[in-house]
């Protein structure tokens, strides 16, 4: 009990110190800024989008970028900028929801099999191998086809495959941590297994998972876009970057802005997550030393 009280008291200071170090790094600052702006756009696109993203304007079909339409218009005369902005809502949601459940399930499963080992670990190992030997996209396509297309089913499909990667990562970390003295100490003190895993081992094992999570969110957007391109992700007329790109790909030469602008948004957001991830990796490594 006393150990716990001790850490919770010290946490705010450590967090502040950590943030101080973080904001001293340009890559963290840039990454943070990009993601913060993205979240803002996702939360209230109506504030920033100049037009209704779904409104047709048959008098302004495929207009090149101009002052009235900074990103041009599409084949229905819809404002591309507004559609890209509204897509933030779908894509940021995708980044979060397609990964967060995989992370939770994966970390929990990985922590348990890593700690207990034995037969559970063996069964886990074979399941992981079986899932990993499947081509990822094929599996997701098949699951989406079974469940029916749409965002929720896409999250389920991605989660069903993706948790494995978190689980593997956590398992390896837990196994390393388990050998450390404090885990043994916890057992000697008679702490429950759950307490040892969640209070002692996991906090020390979680940093590579967090770093991977950042990358994974960028990958989730990319994967969601690929599925949107195949018609298995977000459903029209909703705006989603992958859907926007695929809508524009028939007009690559005549209306390049239709596919380029959402492409830029994907790259920028991906860059944000990666910079954050890299910066966190550096910071956590430095802290670990």
């Amino acid at each position: 009990m006393s150990a716990l009280g001790h850490t919770s008291q010290r946490r705010p200071n450590r967090l502040l110190a950590f943030l101080g170090r973080a904001f001293a790094r340009p890559s963290f600052v840039i990454g943070f800024a990009i993601i913060a702006c993205s979240i803002l756009l996702a939360l209230c696109p109506q504030v920033f989008a100049p037009y209704d993203p779904l409104a047709f304007d048959m008098t302004a079909i495929q207009q090149p970028p101009s002052l009235a339409h900074p990103f041009g218009t599409d084949n229905f005369g819809r404002d591309v900028l507004s559609r890209v902005i509204w897509a933030y809502r779908v894509d940021m949601q995708m980044a979060l929801l397609a990964t967060i459940f995989a992370l939770t399930i994966g970390v929990t499963a990985g922590a348990f099999v890593g700690y207990y080992g034995g037969i559970a670990d063996t069964i886990f190992g074979r399941c992981v191998d079986a899932i990993i030997t499947f081509p990822f996209l094929v599996l997701v396509i098949a699951i989406v086809a079974v469940l029916g297309p749409g965002l929720v089913n896409m999250y389920i499909a991605i989660t069903m495959v993706n948790w494995v990667y978190y689980a593997r990562l956590t398992r390896a970390e837990i196994m390393t941590q388990k050998a450390n003295d404090y885990a043994a100490a916890g057992r000697v003190l008679g702490f429950s297994d759950r307490r040892i895993i969640f209070r002692h081992l996991l906090p020390n094992a979680i940093s590579p998972v967090i770093v991977y999570w950042m990358t994974d969110m960028a990958l989730a957007i990319l994967l969601g876009s690929s599925l949107g391109y195949l018609g298995l992700g977000a459903q029209p007329p909703a705006a989603e970057w992958g859907v926007l790109i695929s809508e524009g790909r028939n007009f690559l030469l005549t209306a390049w802005w239709m596919s380029l602008m959402p492409g830029v948004a994907i790259v920028l957001t991906g860059l944000g997550f990666s910079l954050l991830g890299d910066a966190l990796a550096d910071l956590l490594r430095a802290k670990g030393r």
């Binding site: 030997t133 499947f134 996209l137 876009s225 695929s246």
Partner: protein, 313 residues
């Protein structure tokens, strides 16, 4: 070298994995809405004809019976007959596999050539402008959907500048290198972006590590420190990463082969799914599983060759 018993143990582990894969894919394809009879008859078959096609394909049998037939045939090396291609599955796959393997190896080679030196540069000059630019450029590769990169490469380098042919593949080795340059590049951009990220990080870590500092302090020349310690460690992590990304690579070929009109197994898989060609999907999945398992095994072997510490575990 890894011991023989280790290799045997690894090979034995593959058996339950394969059984799981077989059960899994068998059930998965049958859960897909629609069936081969409908897909095949999508055009113009009457309801009566669809029933007839189902009977001819044995789809009217109970699932356990169908599964036993599948397992029995697979174990005796018979993957069945592709419904869509109207030919034995093994024949269809074998005719397409070399192209995909060639494309994948080509992409890996390009990725390593591209990412290796640049990752070194970025690590040596960590947190300088050079570093930021290198990482930024590769980040673009990581964030662009393959179908978009492919289309842009085709439009600019093939159709406009005519440096490369638009899609297809060659008949000779050199012809293939030329034809498959763009598809390999578009897959490689993604893979190399991952390599750069991780290689850079692990290089920075190694460069900071005590034993490298110690080696430097001992007065070893930078070149020796580099080759003996840094390079070897960096290689271990790169090989591990490449091994792990084989699944991603395979998924990448799915889209790439369609965009670039390459008759490989990736595109075949996509077509097989859309045709609900059960035997072909099953056969392809097992092929993928074999390939990925082989790559994992090779990764293990190479790892233990490079890093003696890993041999014990």
């Amino acid at each position: 070298m890894p011991s023989l018993s280790y290799l045997v143990a690894r090979l034995l582990q593959i058996i339950p994995t394969f059984l799981l894969v077989m059960v899994f894919i068998f059930l998965l394809v049958r859960m897909l809405p629609g069936d081969p009879a409908i897909a095949m008859a999508e055009a113009k078959a009457t309801d009566a004809q669809v029933v007839q096609i189902r009977r001819n394909l044995g789809l009217d049998q109970p699932l356990p019976v169908q599964f036993m037939v599948f397992v029995k045939n697979t174990l005796s090396g018979d993957l069945g007959r592709s419904i869509m291609m109207k030919a034995p599955v093994s024949e269809v796959i074998l005719s397409r596999l070399p192209t995909t393997i060639f494309l994948s190896l080509y992409a890996v080679a390009l990725a390593v050539l591209l990412a290796g030196p640049l990752a070194f540069l970025a690590a040596m000059r960590a947190n300088t402008t050079t570093d930021v630019v290198i990482r930024g450029v590769f980040q673009v590769g990581l964030s662009m959907p393959v179908f978009y990169i492919g289309l842009v490469l085709l439009t600019v380098l093939a159709a406009q500048l005519r440096w490369f042919p638009v899609g297809g593949y060659g008949t000779t080795f050199l012809g293939n290198l030329h034809h498959l340059m763009l598809p390999a590049l578009s897959v490689a951009l993604y893979t190399s972006a991952i390599i750069v990220r991780n290689l850079r990080a692990s290089l920075i870590e190694v460069l900071d590590a005590d034993y490298v500092q110690f080696a430097r302090a001992k007065g070893l020349t930078p070149r020796i420190v580099m080759t003996r310690h840094v390079l070897r460690n960096a290689l271990v992590s790169t090989v591990t990463l490449l091994g792990l990304s084989i699944g991603n690579l395979m998924s990448g070929t799915l889209v790439t082969e369609t965009v670039f009109a390459i008759p490989g197994v990736g595109r075949l898989m996509l077509e097989a799914i859309f045709a609900r060609d059960y035997p072909l999907i099953q056969g392809l999945t097992l092929t993928f599983a074999v390939m990925v398992s082989v790559v994992f095994l090779l990764t293990d072997v190479v790892q233990s060759l490079l890093d003696p510490r890993l041999r014990k575990s």
